[in-house]
């Protein structure tokens, strides 16, 4: 009965009429609203045509992209030995599978984002096919196959896979490092020293290590800064303000030049780890400030309620305060991760061969003299694609979590 009245009610109340434009009307309203708008539009259009035609002409005629295609493997993985590259693929497949599982368990529906994510490997495979790479396209398509397989498995057995997916997510990072670094001098998964890591691989690894390891450290710092204990609070404030006050590059130089002095002379840490330590110390201070923002957003009643039901300080934080605070700052943390990923390019200045370092190395090669535009455009594009897709994802996440309107 109620349902019928509801439907009739729906039919009776018409939605407000939407504005409809013809194409010309739309142009008139949005491009030539006033004479000043008209001038702006014409100038803007002239600029777009000039710049667009110029760049397209350059990209398809005078640009020599062979510097990219010849060194593509170098850009992606640096000096990582060719016969071990399958390990990187395994890492990627594992990631695709885990993401597929998680998607199936938590997101469930097929959204636009999923199609974009699945489309990316297909697109790359097509590019590889057109350029004429050898067999790489099959490996790329396998990424999609595994992701879809993970998703299907999770949809088929949601209850059982839920726990497995979370376990895999937590185990993924140590497992990845194990696969990439290996162990033992020879044989299966032999050791690949960090000085052979390079290119995009190194950039991503430094960023991921930075965020993963700075996370607990940053949360502790944030809690310390909010703490009632005077001494702890002072120490945390000093650390946070000190790190936030100096540029990352000074910390990186400190890691490269000064860290050896601060350790016993028999301890030798390789350069990549030193850069990672600098990045972790740096990221932790910024993360602490972000988490503090989340902590401050928690109403006082939550603390009092936790006290009232007799939780001790540790339980209060882990069960009541932190879950809410961290959820509120997830988008900010994604933003910080993007910033960190961009900041990893600074390690090129201390001589590491990350994506930018490799680019400079390639440009120093006499065979590729004068190809700065091609190389830097390519590098910028790679950074852009990663950063933009992450920020796009975080905006979707923000909408989904409903924390944007804080």
């Amino acid at each position: 009965m109620t349902s019928t009245t509801l439907t009739t009610g729906k039919q009776e109340i018409l939605p407000p009429p939407t504005e409809r434009y013809t194409v010309l009307g739309w142009i008139r309203k949005n491009l030539f609203g006033s004479w000043f708008d008209g001038i702006l539009t014409i100038v803007g259009l002239a600029f777009i045509i000039y710049a667009g035609v110029g760049s397209l002409r350059w990209a398809f005629t005078s640009a020599r992209w062979s510097v990219i295609t010849d060194n593509f493997a170098l850009f992606m993985k640096g000096q990582y030995p060719l016969e071990q590259v399958w390990r990187l693929w395994v890492g990627l497949y594992l990631l695709a599978f885990v993401v597929g599982l998680l998607w199936g368990v938590f997101v469930r529906q097929r959204s636009f984002t999923a199609w974009v994510l699945l489309g990316a490997p297909v697109l790359f495979a097509l590019i590889v096919l057109i350029i004429g790479g050898s067999g790489g396209w099959l490996s790329l398509l396998l990424v999609d196959v595994l992701a879809v397989a993970g998703w299907a498995l999770a949809r088929w057995q949601p209850q059982r896979t839920r726990r497995a997916a979370i376990t895999l997510l937590i185990l993924y990072f140590p497992l990845l490092i194990l696969i990439i670094r290996g162990f033992g001098a020879e044989g299966f998964l032999s050791l690949v020293p960090t000085n052979l890591w390079g290119g995009l691989l190194l950039s991503l690894l430094i960023a991921v290590v930075g965020i993963v390891f700075s996370f607990p450290f940053g949360v502790l710092l944030a809690l310390g800064r909010q703490s009632q204990l005077r001494a702890v609070k002072t120490l945390c404030v000093i650390y946070i303000e000190f790190i936030r006050g100096v540029p990352l590059i000074t910390l990186l130089f400190m890691g490269q030049v000064m860290l050896p002095f601060f350790l016993p002379s028999n301890v030798v840490i390789d350069r990549v780890i030193r850069a990672m330590v600098a990045v972790i110390l740096f990221a932790a201070a910024y993360l602490a400030e972000n988490v503090r923002g989340g902590l401050q957003a928690i109403p006082k009643g939550q603390y009092e309620a936790a006290d009232a039901i007799g939780l001790n300080g540790f339980q209060k934080m882990t069960y009541i305060i932190l879950p809410q605070a961290l959820r509120a700052v997830i988008p900010v943390l994604v933003g910080q991760f993007i910033g960190l990923f961009k900041d990893t390019s600074l390690v090129a200045l201390v001589g590491l061969l990350d994506l930018l370092g490799i680019a400079r190395g390639v440009l120093a090669n006499p065979n590729y003299i004068g190809r700065q535009i091609e190389v830097y455009v390519f590098v910028a594009l790679v950074y852009w694609v990663f950063s933009y897709s992450m920020s796009y994802g975080s905006r979707r996440l923000e909408v989904a979590l409903g924390v944007g309107e804080r």
């Binding site: 491009l31 006050g245 100096v246 601060f262 900041d343 830097y376 950074y383």
Partner: protein
């Protein structure tokens, strides 16, 4: 809590929260102190093993290296300290100009981002989204190697001829003034003009307070200054500043003021890159002013310009200024990337000294202190500003 007060004597001290807090703090402080002791002990032993001594006496020694550009007189026989000072001034210069240009560009793009014109809106969006998602260092390398080093040679430099500005791969050259004989007296006149301008501003402010009609202080006070300066210029027997135009002599320009390609690349990339972030801040600030405010202002009969000046902007500024100062600080810290293109800022100079003398600890310490000072000053300003804003809010 209640339990503790009633049964105070029953609680042993190892379960008393006050003792526990004290002990916890003590433990943390001791742990940090022990860590520092360990590190510094290692440092002293390590340095002693290599025969290096800590200390700042080397700052008085001769630097022995050239610096490409300097705001003050400097030669390689000057002291290390002076070399650092040159670098410090260069940092200030690029950061100061960068902040000015980034602000102007950022406001323009931020307003364009809110434009009703679809095309302008989208161009601004692409500008912002492109710059915000690439690393500054990549942008800097691109700008330096692709734009500033690819400029034509000096003998066929791009020029804005009626302004006598030249762009070449040796740098950018603009006309400049050389202080003449009467420059000193003109400076005095300018000072008098400044004092007069402040007096005029104060009088007008008082009058505004009294009558309730605030006159255009921002117009009349600067006008006073400019008029006094102009009168001084005309009244003095010879012009205080002599125009010096860059002229091509041999392979390079002579005269005027030259800016190296490194400086140009630093300034350009810092200003453009930061402007994208400032644009987003400006946009968010203007959007943060609720729509009702604009409608109310229109209902009161304020013109669109007055609406912006009296209603939207003062409120938007409150949202804009805190993140804006943090962007300014970011720009200043990012100017340390100058080391990548060889612009001699304080970090690059310190790095040179480090390589020449091996004084790693001291040099990195000094650069950190310089940047920490910047950031401390910024946060002091922020606290002052926030306090002022709160007064306005009551």
């Amino acid at each position: 809590m209640a339990q503790r007060t009633t049964e105070q004597h029953a609680v042993p001290f190892w379960r008393d929260e006050r003792y526990l807090q004290l002990l916890g703090q003590l433990a943390v402080v001791l742990a940090v102190a022990a860590l520092f002791y360990y590190l510094i002990n290692n440092l002293i032993h390590g340095l002693a093993a290599q025969g290096i001594q800590l200390g700042f006496r080397f700052l008085r020694l001769t630097a022995g290296f050239d610096i490409g550009e300097s705001l003050i007189e400097y030669s390689r026989s000057d002291t290390v300290l002076r070399a650092l000072y040159v670098g410090f001034l260069n940092t200030l210069l690029v950061a100061f100009l960068g902040i000015i240009f980034a602000t102007i560009l950022g406001i323009v793009v931020g307003v364009a981002r809110l434009s009703k014109n679809w095309l302008i809106n989208k161009i601004a969006a692409v500008y912002v989204e492109f710059l915000r998602n690439i690393p500054l260092l990549v942008f800097l390398f691109f700008v330096y190697t692709v734009i500033f080093l690819k400029l034509p040679r000096t003998d066929n430099a791009l020029s804005i001829s009626f302004l006598k500005i030249y762009f070449s791969n040796r740098g950018i050259f603009i006309p400049w003034g050389i202080p003449g004989e009467t420059f000193g007296s003109w400076l005095v006149i300018l000072l008098v003009g400044l004092i007069l301008a402040i007096v005029v501003g104060l009088i007008l402010y008082r009058q505004g307070q009294r009558t309730g009609r605030m006159p255009l202080i921002g117009f009349w006070a600067p006008l006073t200054f400019v008029v006094v300066g102009l009168i001084g210029w005309i009244a003095l027997p010879s012009a205080p500043l002599i125009k010096d135009v860059p002229v091509l002599q041999g392979r390079n320009f002579v005269g005027g003021r030259g800016f190296s390609p490194e400086f140009g690349a630093m300034l350009f990339s810092l200003a453009v890159y930061t402007s994208a972030f400032i644009a987003e801040i400006v946009r968010a600030g203007i959007l943060a002013v609720s729509k009702g405010q604009r409608e109310a202002a229109t209902a009161l009969g304020l013109s669109p310009f007055l609406t912006l000046r009296l209603v939207i902007f003062p409120q938007a500024l409150r949202v804009i200024v805190p993140p804006l100062t943090s962007q300014y600080l970011n720009l200043t810290k990012n100017s340390s990337l100058a080391v990548a293109v060889g612009y001699p800022d304080v970090f690059a100079v310190a790095n040179t000294i480090l390589n020449q003398t091996g004084r790693a600890v001291e040099m990195i310490g000094i650069t950190m202190i310089v940047y920490l000072t910047f950031s401390l000053l910024t946060s002091l300003f922020m606290n002052w500003y926030n306090a002022r804003i709160r007064l306005v809010e009551r």
